[in-house]
Amino acid sequence: MSAQSDVERLAAENAALQTRIQALTKENSRLKAPQTSPPLPDPSPLTAFTQVESLNNPEIARYSRQLLLPEVGVQGQLSLRNASVLVVGAGGLGSPCILYLAAMGVGKIGVIDHDTVEISNLQRQVIHSESRAGLSKARSARLAVHELNSDCHCIAYDLVFDYTVALSVAAEYDVVVDATDNVPTRYLVNDTCVLLGKPLVSASALKLDGQLTVYNYAGGPCYRCLFPVPPPPETVTNCSDGGVLGVVPGILGTLQALEVVKILTGVKAKEAPTLLLFSAFSSPTFRSIKIRGKQAHCAVCGTQPTITELQDYVAFCGSQPTDGPVHLNLLPAGDRITCADYHTLRQTGQPHLLVDVREPVQYDICRLPGSLHVPWRDFAQRVPDILAAREAVSHQPIYIICRLGNDSQEAVLHLRERGVVDAKDIVGGLLEWHQSVDPTFPAY
């Protein structure tokens, strides 16, 4: 058997074991969860959701502050009470949106999310709690809704919102809220709403910025009218890479709940379509932009649509329906070194140059001793610095590390192009270092 096929076999074995580890870790946290969580409710309420002709006395007392507003009044409150809203995603946007919809008296709320609650979510996903870590986000959200307003008919869908379930789930609701975190799901939610004729309240948030638009409503555009072609995957930054200030999705999700109220009470239909831009540290903080109406040539909502059923959104967008880390494979195995092998190399004191290419904010969080810091963004200009530092260790090999092992591969490729052949990247980066070498090294 050739060395090449050996390597391939081992790589396949490694991948299978990694998957198994992930499954076991997930199972482990699931098993741990019930000790601290209240017992799981049935995911679907026992009674069916029914609409009513008038508000009862407890409802009149509970919603009196809203009933006093002429813009809402009894008719508006009754519209909320008889309405059903599907929130796709119980994350940073979905958290406040679901809570406010329940608090304000929306009769039926569906929550669909396949993720589980993690402690690192809680900085922004305020509907969940430490005690519900490991629990499905959809069920955790349902527990929170039930605590806040036990009259709300809340249905938790512990499912991936994909083309197999999208139409049948969304068909049960009057309005859909896009509180997702990735490109393919945004196109899927849009097409679902257009095919079903449902208004879509869409928002997004990243770092300090947010955007909000109502699509497919009252002659306004759909998401595809504005963005017929998905962005190249390499231009998309997700919250786990770019970061996000907790309150930013909170503000946008709260505004989504407001837009839902405006749709249900009928005032939204009179407004021209707008895109609301939010930028936390800029002035002005909010800007409202007048946007195009429904486009006659739109592929899904136009006069001659070419999309008449849901399609393969992962292929269309070239990216996965997740905001989790992406693991690129840009280099042959020979140009890479595992964390374990690099650890051995450090322990045996082999001379080398370690280059850390993360952003300065990340380098401030944690770093391996003795590394040269050259952020990937400045890398091209600073190659001479790297070569000079390497001369100081008598022309020894270069190892490049980053957070996840993607930029480090780009950096090795860049050095190859500039004639430096003895550089390797450290597979999986510092997150892998935390997992397989040093559990005391911070993970973020």
């Binding site: 975190d181 948030a205 831009l277 932009i289």
Partner: protein
């Protein structure tokens, strides 16, 4: 006696406020706001349009990775262009004629949540 016709003076350059946001600023030295001056007419003596502004930006402000800004002679998918706080689609897109003191915003759409 009539004086000879003066040579046509070069038109005054147009002042344009540019703004990059939603992550676009990373392509432009992490700077969100620029005030630039651009000729009011092209070398063919036609008015300067938004399409010319985009190429001017590529040639004068963009340091690297032009493909993250321009593709197929327009801005790449996922960038929304706003002219004076209005979607450029309502203003003629690439054919919009730049006016003095216009504010043109290039905003990358966000997907996180």
């Amino acid at each position: 006696m009539a004086s000879p016709a003066p040579a046509t003076p070069a038109p005054t350059p147009l002042k344009v406020n540019l703004e990059f946001s939603g992550g676009m600023e990373l392509l432009f030295n992490n700077t969100k706001n620029y005030t630039i001056e651009i000729p009011a007419t092209t070398s063919e003596h036609t008015p300067t349009l938004l399409r010319h502004l985009i190429f001017w930006i590529r040639d004068n402000l963009l340091k690297e990775k032009p493909e993250l800004f321009i593709s197929a002679d327009t801005v790449r998918p996922g960038i929304l262009v706003l002219i004076n706080d209005t979607d450029w689609e309502l203003e003629g897109e690439l054919e919009y004629q730049i006016q003095n003191n216009d504010t043109v915003v290039f905003i990358s759409t966000l997907h996180g949540g």
